[in-house]
């Protein structure tokens, strides 16, 4: 038996080893090391001089007002943008999938363009569109032309208006991804399901409620989990649009963590923030993760 295993390992070794080392060194080891570092006052220049501090970094986070503010902003970003992207994304997918729509590929491509555009570029773009004064495009449209605003808004100078800019960007950029996943799922539903429903005299709403929606369930779980995980990743747009301002009011967990590590070189505390975040994501998505891949419907 051992001989057989040895032979198998010997055969697969050359194919497996590089990938295994890659994952072990750059993903799994860092994961464990991050947890380890969070228990230290970590000295990045002389790691051996790091001081073990037990749970101090976590206790510090527990009492840190700025940590709570970043946490609140990260969670709010998820609460707003996950449903936002999802609702618009599935809605547009259903519209594009309607039988009479021509140029499906054209619509799909256009809606997908924001997804493939770099975060850095769209962050500049939104900063520009939401500029202060009368001539920022958003103020121009909603104040000068449509008179929906009573005065030109200084979007980035106030906590909540700045938040609106960050959320809007998140939704605007993410819709296309949700759309493309749902479009693929919708197109993979076999036509005979709909034909059978038509023979039974089902109305459009019934078809949607009793055939389309249930068959889309695995897709929905996949999409929602990815959107939630993605929402915790909010960082670049905050860094480039507000840089946490005004007065740190729009800071999110990642930007706060990044500043602790690379501006203040407080790697231990930053790691504790990371680990806390990882645990939260794990708890939010754990129950669902187990179902991914298992809940496949055979046609």
């Amino acid at each position: 038996m051992t001989k057989k295993y040895f032979k198998q390992t010997w055969d697969v070794f050359p194919f497996l080893i590089l990938g295994l080392i890659g994952v072990a060194v750059f993903v799994i080891f860092p994961l464990l090391k991050g947890i380890y570092m969070s228990f230290f006052e970590y000295n990045v220049l002389f790691p051996k001089e790091s001081i073990f501090v037990g749970l101090d970094n976590y206790i510090r986070a527990f009492h840190d007002q700025k940590f709570y503010l970043s946490l609140r902003n990260t969670l709010l970003y998820g609460v707003v943008t996950v449903p936002g992207q999802w609702v618009f994304g599935i809605f547009i997918a259903i519209l594009i999938n309607a039988k009479f729509i021509k140029n499906k590929v054209l619509f799909r491509t256009v809606y997908y363009v924001p997804v493939i555009t770099s975060w850095v570029v769209v962050s500049f773009l939104f900063k520009y569109l939401f500029s202060d004064g009368k001539y920022g495009l958003i103020n121009f449209i909603f104040y000068e032309k449509l008179h929906l605003l009573t005065h030109p808004v200084s979007w980035l100078q106030n906590e909540w208006t700045a938040m609106i800019v960050i959320w809007t960007l998140g939704i605007w950029k993410g819709i296309g991804w949700v759309m493309i996943i749902y479009l693929a799922a919708l197109q993979s539903i076999p036509r005979h399901f709909y034909e059978a429903a038509a023979i039974d005299g089902a109305k459009a709403r019934q078809v949607f409620q009793f055939i389309t929606l249930p068959l889309l369930k695995p897709t929905t779980i996949f999409v929602i989990i990815n959107l939630i995980i993605g929402s915790f990743n909010v960082f670049i747009q905050v860094l480039l649009i507000t840089n946490g301002g005004p007065l740190g009011r729009t800071e999110v967990l990642l930007s706060y963590m990044y500043k602790q590590a690379f501006n203040f070189f407080d790697f231990g505390y930053a790691s504790a923030i990371s680990v806390t975040m990882g645990i939260m994501i794990f708890l939010v998505t754990w129950g669902q993760q187990k179902t991914i891949g298992k809940e496949k419907i055979e046609f």
Binding site: F15, G19, L20, F26, V27, F100, S118, V120, N233
Partner: protein, 275 residues
């Protein structure tokens, strides 16, 4: 369906297209306009003379060409290595039996569920202890390393669908596992390898977080970092910033539009479209 509803659906889709494209058109318009130091009046933007001057200036300024070439190098190298490593690993999981196989694969799956950005600090210390901070080797190792699990997962599914009988022709000719991998699996998986390649390329091209952390020397910067530099130095010369931005995003958008019909998807779209 009645004509009324058809018109409504089309109208909604076109309003959506308008919302998606307006920011891009406005960016394009700004990039063709000179003297955009202060915020230009939207009406005047439409009227002002159009030229490519910003593009020429952006291309020549701030070592932009160097950054562009840096990005070409980093993205291409990442793609080549990622495809090589991932296809070998996927082949190992698809066509070999070995101890701990399913455990290892589960471990791979698990790492995919941990958001990558959380690892950035310990990854930085790993790269630091290897002495690779501020080198492309360090950057490339991280790009390739963090992608392997997801890519392997994506490719394994496709490799397993290739009929095993095809291997027999190679075996009869006396070929080994390497020959099978090179002459059966790689050629037959071109569509999935191409899909993976495109997503890896664009991912590396746009990557900001790791590049910001690992690269320190100005001359080594990739485009996303360089763009940030542009914005800082020319605080409000938006025409120039957007000309540079458009040069940076056009290659990726073109690649996607050209290849979009050829994309393949695994069962629910995991892997290739993650993120």
């Amino acid at each position: 369906m009645s004509l009324f509803w058809k018109v409504v659906v089309y109208l909604l889709l076109i309003i959506g297209v308008f919302i998606v494209l307006t920011p891009f058109l406005y960016m394009l318009l700004t990039s063709f306009t000179q003297d955009t130091f202060s915020l230009p009046h939207p009406d005047e933007l439409l009227k002002a003379a159009k030229s490519f001057d910003n593009y020429i200036e952006a291309w020549r300024k701030n070592d932009f060409q160097r950054y562009f070439l840096n990005s070409v190098f980093v993205a291409t190298t990442t793609t080549v290595f990622a495809l090589f490593f991932s296809s070998m690993t996927a082949y190992a999981f698809a066509r070999f039996q070995f101890p701990l196989k399913e455990f290892l694969f589960r471990l791979f799956l698990f790492t995919m569920m941990v958001p990558g950005v959380l690892n950035i600090i310990p990854q930085f210390t790993v790269i630091k202890s290897l002495g690779l901070v501020d080198t492309y080797s360090g950057l490339l190792l991280l790009y390739v390393g963090v992608g392997i699990a997801g890519n392997t997962f994506f490719l394994r599914g496709f490799f397993e669908r290739i009929p095993k009988e095809l291997e027999e022709s190679v075996i009869i000719d006396g070929g080994g596992k390497w020959t099978i991998y090179r002459h059966i699996y790689l050629p037959l998986s071109k569509p999935s390898l191409a899909t993976l390649g495109i997503f890896t390329f664009s991912g590396a091209w746009d990557e900001f977080f790791i590049a910001l952390t690992i690269l320190k020397t100005e001359a080594k910067r990739t485009l996303p970092i360089a763009l940030q530099l542009f914005q800082g130095q020319h605080a409000t010369k938006w025409g120039l910033v957007f000309a540079a931005s458009i040069i940076a995003i056009v290659p990726i958008i073109l690649i996607f539009i050209i290849f979009q019909k050829k994309f393949v998807q695994s069962t629910t779209g995991e892997g290739a479209v993650k993120g």
